[in-house]
């Protein structure tokens, strides 16, 4: 040690390191920006073309119109039959996939032995990896004929088969994301419940599921959004016939009886996505009204999924049980 106290060199090759850190910062920022800009660009593209469409067709006519016929005269742009088709397919799919997916997730997370889990989880992921077009023709070739045994009046193209197939397609999404959420519930909470004399079923339903509810709701919303957006399987199984059930009027309000609503499951339908495909592969001129109606449907789809996401955020916040 010399008498003169020397201050240690703590610069750590500063110049170079600072530049490198800034480069990293910039790289990460640009990547993050990319997705934001893409989203913005999509919204702007949808809005511009859709605005052109709504200059010709009033928004109200579009939203409340009961007939969709963009290319065949008399031309009409009523989106209701498409929304109806989408809602029917999605509701049916959700009715199948949400309970089955959730129970699968509970089984995987709480009941399955590590060995069973190590087989089942990859199997579910394979299910998610099958191309949707394969689901589509399997539904058309096998499921619909099988259903015709139970429902003789079922059409070759029908909503019911589509619902079931789309439901099967989204089960892995529900079960996989829900299972992740349940697996990350700390064991200390399970122990607390077991310690009070809870059975495995009670631990699962009163502790694990409530604690994982935000993840579970997220999985539901993602799966439903996926069902809304599903196209290929739906166009093959459900067909492309924009239908709306006969509505009678009760007190000035349209009313559809539950039986005629159920009958509609056995009929062909057309979802918003299928309508877009039909227009896009057809020979319509750019800047024509039919062309612009594509964007109007696109915007409607976008709005629906956006609302779904907002609802899911609200629900998750309301029922959040943080640990």
């Amino acid at each position: 040690m010399s008498d003169e106290a020397q201050t240690p060199d703590l610069s750590g090759g500063r110049g170079f390191q600072t530049v490198r850190e800034r480069l990293y910062h910039a790289l990460f920022f640009v990547c993050a920006l990319l997705s934001v800009l893409t989203t913005l660009a999509i919204v702007i593209a949808l809005l511009t073309e859709a605005l052109g469409f709504f200059a010709e067709v009033p928004v109200l006519d579009f939203l409340t119109g009961t007939r969709w016929s963009p290319t065949i005269r008399p031309v009409e742009y009523g989106v209701l039959p498409l929304v109806f088709g989408t809602v029917m397919v999605t509701l049916g799919a959700a009715a199948l996939a949400l309970p089955v997916g959730l129970l699968t997730a509970i089984y995987l997370s709480e009941y399955a032995s590590p060995r069973v889990r190590s087989i089942l989880k990859p199997a579910l992921e394979v299910l998610a990896g099958i191309p949707t077009v394969v689901y589509g023709f399997l539904g058309l070739v096998y499921l619909t004929p099988a259903l015709s045994v139970i429902f003789p009046s079922i059409s070759t193209f029908n909503i019911l088969s589509g619902s079931i197939i789309v439901g099967i397609m989204i089960i892995p999404m529900v079960s996989s994301i829900s299972e992740d959420a349940m697996s990350s519930v700390p064991d200390s909470l399970r122990n607390a419940s077991y310690g009070l004399g809870a059975t495995k079923f009670e631990v699962s339903t009163t502790v694990v599921v409530p604690s994982a509810v935000s993840g579970i709701v997220s999985s539901f919303i993602l799966a439903i959004s996926r069902a809304i957006g599903e196209t290929m399987a739906v166009v093959i199984i459900v067909g492309a016939q924009a239908n709306l059930p006969e509505a009678s009027s009760i007190g000035g309000l349209p009313f559809v009886s539950p039986t005629s609503l159920f009958d509609q499951f056995l009929e062909p339908g057309m979802t918003m996505t299928v309508a877009i495909v039909n227009l896009a592969v057809g020979d319509i001129a750019t800047q024509s009204l039919a062309y612009q109606s594509l964007f109007a449907i696109g915007l409607t789809l976008f709005a629906i999924t956006l609302i779904m996401n907002l609802i899911s955020d609200l629900v998750a916040q309301r029922y959040r049980e943080e640990y």
Binding site: S188, L189, R190, S193, L196, G197, T206
Partner: protein, 285 residues
């Protein structure tokens, strides 16, 4: 489905007791020394985790309505012993138990014992406070609900919180999340949750090790009070804590051996074994 689940253990829990002891003495009188009966007794108890033996031939008698402390260095098997009593070790796949562990004279490892029924009579408080992410009220009511003891629920919740010395601090905010409480309050809430269902025994696995000194002393005072009504078995790292609050002390040493067991004051003042003396005086551990 949930009906079946809750009813089966109910009938099993009746079977659980073979001896004819009165259990409705909720007044909390301390029994005379001569009347002290054994609630838990282990006979030649071995526990293995896979190929590793965690406990070796443990013989131990835990008296009713006293505080029995288990002390010893890390990995000595004291927590393992505690978790044998209410069969929490069942939840660990590789754990295997040999020998007998008697609760009120009944071997809890007999085939006809349902661990769910057993755990309804032997409550547990864990090392880290683990309240459910629910309201304060729902935490205390949880055990009562799953055990179908929902008559006068409000009253039972209030009483449990009072017995856990937490009522005055939370009575105006029972609807708030239990996670907003401090660590010490959370642990007292966990104690309230455990005693709300009126178990006979309360197992505590280092209940104060994650708490600050003030919260620790509150928990210690509480444990001494609880021993007036319940049989308390506590695992602790803290020898002063064992000396302060326990009536009996069991000293485990590395390798899963029970080296000494007896009245706390005797063990701390005049340990028989040199190894125990070394441990207690801090030469290792």
């Amino acid at each position: 489905m949930s009906k079946d689940v809750t009813q089966d253990p109910e009938t099993d829990s009746e079977k659980l007791i073979s001896t004819d002891v009165s259990t409705d003495d909720a007044d909390g009188d301390v029994p005379d020394e001569s009347q002290v009966r054994t609630v838990i007794e282990s006979q030649d108890l071995d526990v293995f985790y896979g190929d590793t033996q965690a406990l070796q031939s443990i013989d131990l008698e835990i008296p009713a309505r006293q505080v029995t402390a288990m002390i010893g260095p890390s990995g000595c098997g004291k927590s393992t012993f505690l978790r044998c009593i209410n069969r929490m070790n069942d939840l660990i796949d590789i754990a295997r138990v040999e020998g007998e562990l008697l609760f009120e004279g009944k071997n809890v490892y007999d085939d006809d014992v349902d661990p769910v029924a057993l755990r309804r009579r032997i409550g547990m408080v864990f090392q880290h406070p683990n309240p459910f992410p629910k309201s304060i009220y729902d935490n205390v009511a949880y055990g009562l609900k799953i055990q179908d003891k929902t008559e006068n629920l409000d009253q039972k919740v209030e009483q449990a919180l009072k017995r856990a010395a937490l009522w005055d601090e939370v009575k105006d905010r029972l609807d708030e999340s239990a996670l907003d409480l401090s660590g010490g309050q959370q642990q007292r809430l966990c104690i309230a949750r455990a005693i709300a269902v009126d178990p006979e025994v309360i197992l505590m696995d280092e209940p104060a090790s994650a708490l600050d000194p003030i919260a620790t002393s509150q928990i210690e005072d509480l444990i001494e009070e609880l021993a007036e009504e319940f049989t308390v078995v506590i695992v602790t790292h803290n020898m002063q804590q064992a000396a302060r609050i326990s009536d009996k002390t069991a000293v485990f040493l590395t390798g899963g051996e029970l080296v000494e067991f007896g009245n706390t004051n005797e063990i701390f003042e005049n340990p028989e074994s040199e190894r125990v003396e070394d441990y207690i005086t801090g030469k290792f551990g």
